[in-house]
């Protein structure tokens, strides 16, 4: 297990390195000059050049990337071009809201998706199955922006059950987490349904039934535990999906997380902020996958390492 984890941590570092290289190359190749965007329209060419020099943008790719990596290993993510503030501090001020949003979304998608999937599997072909799958389809396909505004209008503005937006306690968290979670819940319902149906058709289930285990016992004690395997991996992968979704959801609900930070940075080609958020997100995703891998053996003894 330790060897496995060490290898996976090594892989993760490599993944982060590759992610940083790809992002840096993409931003470097972008046909837009950050110095000009910082300088603003009224700046003379001399001013733009002096800003380019101050930011080190007049150096070649290798020098710029090398310098970036050098700072990175010392834990320095640089300074925002636009805000002229440390990127580490900026990310630090936005981590907690994004993590809260992700946790809330994961909790809601599991709470909604898993029971729906189980219900669908157990009522296969009948109307509850069909209703659950239609919900899953709509949840997966609904555009997040539309979903967010609809939820705000109906639940917050019309029914006044929640605040209109902003950051705060659970009442503020619920709608953005639900927006993010509904799509995921659809996926979880589908995966849970097919996984459970697959498990229920296995020989050991038939054996359990033959031994006289009750229908409820078969599902709870034997089938669910095995059917949950793909779900664990999905949660790990979900963090990656969320990083894309949070940009929209955070923007609509005024949630002060990383999604909004990076969106604003992309608009003005604020390279240090874009790089910082990408690297941080990549670290979060690899960590999520690492945790999923570490958790799997606890649930399924067959995947244990000695």
């Amino acid at each position: 297990m330790l060897r496995f984890l060490t290898a996976r941590v090594g892989q993760s570092v490599l993944v982060l390195l590759v992610a940083s290289l790809i992002t840096f190359s993409l931003v470097f190749l972008l046909p837009a000059d950050p110095a000009r965007l910082v300088a603003g329209p009224s700046a003379s060419v001399a001013t733009v050049n002096s800003i380019r020099h101050e930011l080190g943008l007049d150096q070649g790719f290798v020098v710029q990337y090398g310098r970036y990596l050098g700072h990175l290993v010392q834990g320095d993510l640089g300074q925002s071009y636009k805000q002229q503030t440390g990127v580490t501090a900026l990310i630090g001020s936005r981590i907690v809201p994004t993590l809260q949003l992700m946790l809330g979304a994961v909790a809601l998608e599991l709470l909604i998706g898993l029971p729906l999937g189980i219900l669908a599997a157990l009522t296969r072909g009948r109307w509850p199955d069909r209703v659950a799958m239609v919900f899953a389809f709509v949840g997966v396909s609904a555009p997040q922006f539309w979903l967010a505004l609809t939820l705000v209008y109906v639940l917050a503005y019309d029914l006044r059950m929640f605040p209109l937006g902003g950051y705060g306690g659970l009442s503020h968290l619920f709608l953005p987490a639900l927006t993010l979670g509904i799509g995921g819940a659809g996926w979880y319902a589908r995966v849970m349904r097919s996984s459970l149906l697959d498990v229920l058709s296995r020989d050991y289930i038939r054996t359990a039934r033959a031994k006289g285990v009750s229908a409820r016992g078969v599902v709870l004690r034997h089938a669910l535990r095995n059917a949950a395997m793909p779900i664990i991996s999905m949660i790990g992968l979900d963090i990656g999906t969320f990083m894309g979704g949070v940009v929209v959801v955070e923007s609509v609900f005024g949630w002060p997380g990383l999604g909004r930070l990076v969106w604003d940075a992309i608009r003005v080609v604020d390279i240090p902020v874009i790089m910082g958020v990408v690297i941080f997100s990549a670290a979060l995703i690899t960590l999520g996958n690492l945790l999923a891998d570490a958790l799997q053996p606890l649930i399924d003894p067959r995947t244990r390492f000695d």
Partner: protein
């Protein structure tokens, strides 16, 4: 002059004092985060009104107008006979939020800070006309020789050449006075820890959520501000903010009325008193690269001007624009009220193309920012030009990419300026010539996207800028009118519309057009008040 200054200053303080009530707080909402409150760095319409809450400049404008009045200066400066030296006397008793009194050294420090390349100020270029500024910027001098502290309350600024717009430049946010020790104490983060002399102090900034401003009890203009506090909520989607205003959680929509709700709100008689609109001092335009292929021919450029239906474009933006007849917007001094511009006439366009030997048309490319409604506007232009035989390929790209292409020679034949419309930095026509239409700006990385360079016009502009005496003002504006007439005849742009800005406020928040849609500061927080 003294009497006028005193009168204007008093007007500034008293304003419409009979109506306002003192006290109370307001909330304004914005979609985007505020990047910085450092006046040397912030350079957009969202930053500027907030910077104005915390800082003051030596000069300001009478609210709602383009008339210069003293602010931190005790009076308008004494100008030397050659129009190059300006001596400012500071108002006495002004204190920074940290309690220290304002001195002339702060003025010198502030301007040198903007000019210093290390500050990376987008305003640097405006101040390079001060004698010795270029040498200081190039690292060849330790100070700007043209800024002399004469006494703790007097400072003289000398220019390398006379510039009639210099006082306007001194009224810009970049010249708002900052205290050296507070900048140093903020350790590179003055933008988040601003200290000025302004009517409000910033008391809290929660990243990505809100900024809180409280009244400065020791403000040197005792009547101001009327409000006890202002909360700026950031990150709120405009549609959600609109709902928040209906519910009384928001008092002012910083981003204006969201497009989806615009017609409904505008046509609602109950909301009539809550909506204030004014044409902005800006111009959205289609630039025509005068150095590229068929577009080198003035007749082709004139044909394009006749071919574009501006009223259709204004319909696309829900009527939030006024048809442009030239480069200058109506509120800009020097605007020619008699100018008719090019009328919409596909027939005239076809005739001009025929005269240019292009009766069967030609193909070209139009660059546009990819944010709605700009691609739709580009399509409208594409359809109009197709009517006269000009086949247009649209390149819809990120704003930074469009700026890069437009600022590269022989790359972008046509550029729709949507999202980057030219808005005044200060109310002087030179701001609509030098940075965007002069030879100096027709360089790689410059903002002259027409790549039009007429040395005679440059000389005329330089001559006009040297006319610094008030008595020469009318003649100077006439010269600028002539410059813009030439540019219009040369059809270097298709000036399309001047934006009409609509602001919507709650029932309790009170103010006039001068406070809600000020041509210079956009929002005059210090003069807004709430009904109790």
């Amino acid at each position: 002059m003294k009497l006028t200054a005193a009168f204007l200053s008093t007007t500034l303080v008293l304003g419409l004092a009979h109506a306002q009530q003192r006290g109370g707080e307001m909330t304004v909402s914005y979609k985007d985060d505020v990047t910085t409150l450092d006046p040397a760095i912030g350079y957009d319409w969202q930053n500027w009104p907030m910077e104005k809450m915390v800082f003051d400049g030596l000069l300001d404008y009478t609210p709602g107008t383009t008339t210069l009045v003293p602010r931190l200066a005790a009076k308008l400066p004494d100008v030397s006979a050659d129009g190059r030296s300006y001596t400012f006397t500071l108002r006495s008793g002004v204190k920074f939020h940290n309690g220290r009194g304002l001195t002339a050294s702060d003025v010198k420090y502030t301007l040198e800070r903007v000019i210093d390349p290390k500050t990376k100020s987008p305003g640097q270029s405006f101040f390079l006309g001060i004698a010795g500024a270029q040498a200081f910027a190039d690292g060849k001098a330790k100070e700007v020789t043209g800024i002399k502290v004469l006494s703790p309350t007097r400072v003289r600024i000398t220019l390398s050449a006379p510039n009639a717009a210099f006082l306007n430049i001194m009224a810009m946010n970049f010249a708002f006075i900052v205290p050296r020790e507070a900048v140093a104490a903020a350790k590179g983060d003055f933008g988040h820890k601003p200290v000025g002399t302004g009517p409000f102090t910033m008391t809290a900034w929660v990243s990505g959520q809100s900024l809180t401003f409280k009244r400065n009890p020791a403000y040197f203009l005792p009547a101001l501000p009327y409000l006890d506090g202002v909360t700026v909520k950031v990150g709120t989607d405009p549609s959600v903010a609109y709902l928040g205003l209906q519910r009384g959680e928001v008092d002012l929509l910083g981003d204006g009325i969201p497009p989806a709700q615009f017609l409904q709100a505008k046509n609602d008689p109950q909301l009539k008193d809550n909506i204030i609109s004014k044409t902005q001092v800006n111009t959205s335009y289609l630039s025509i690269n005068t150095q590229m292929n068929e577009l080198k021919d003035v007749r082709v450029r004139q044909a394009i001007n006749h071919a574009v239906d501006k009223t259709k474009i204004i319909r696309i933006i829900n009527g939030r624009g006024e048809v442009a007849r030239g480069v200058l917007p109506p509120l800009m001094p020097g605007y020619d009220k008699t100018a008719k511009g090019y009328d919409y006439s596909p027939d005239k366009a076809k005739a001009l193309l025929k005269a240019a030997g292009l009766a069967s048309g030609f193909s070209t490319t139009l660059y546009t920012n990819s944010t709605d409604p700009n691609p739709r506007i580009a399509q409208s232009i594409q359809q109009d030009l197709a009517q006269v035989g000009i086949k247009v390929e649209i390149k819809s790209q990120a704003q930074g990419t469009v700026i890069e292409a437009a600022g590269s020679r022989n790359t972008a034949p046509l550029v729709w300026s949507g999202g980057m419309a030219w808005t005044q930095d200060f109310p002087d026509p030179s701001d609509f010539y030098g940075p965007i239409l002069s030879c100096g700006s027709a360089v790689p990385g410059g903002w002259n996207w027409s790549w039009y360079c007429d040395k005679a016009l440059d000389a005329q502009a330089a001559k006009a800028d040297a006319m610094t005496r008030p008595a020469q003002r009318a003649a100077r504006l006439k010269m600028y009118s002539a410059i813009f007439k030439t540019l219009n005849d040369q059809a270097v742009w298709v000036p399309i519309f001047h934006e009409v800005r609509y602001m919507m406020h709650s029932d309790r928040l009170q103010g006039t057009e001068a406070e809600f849609v000020d041509p210079i500061h956009l929002i005059g927080y210090e003069r807004l008040w709430v009904k109790k």
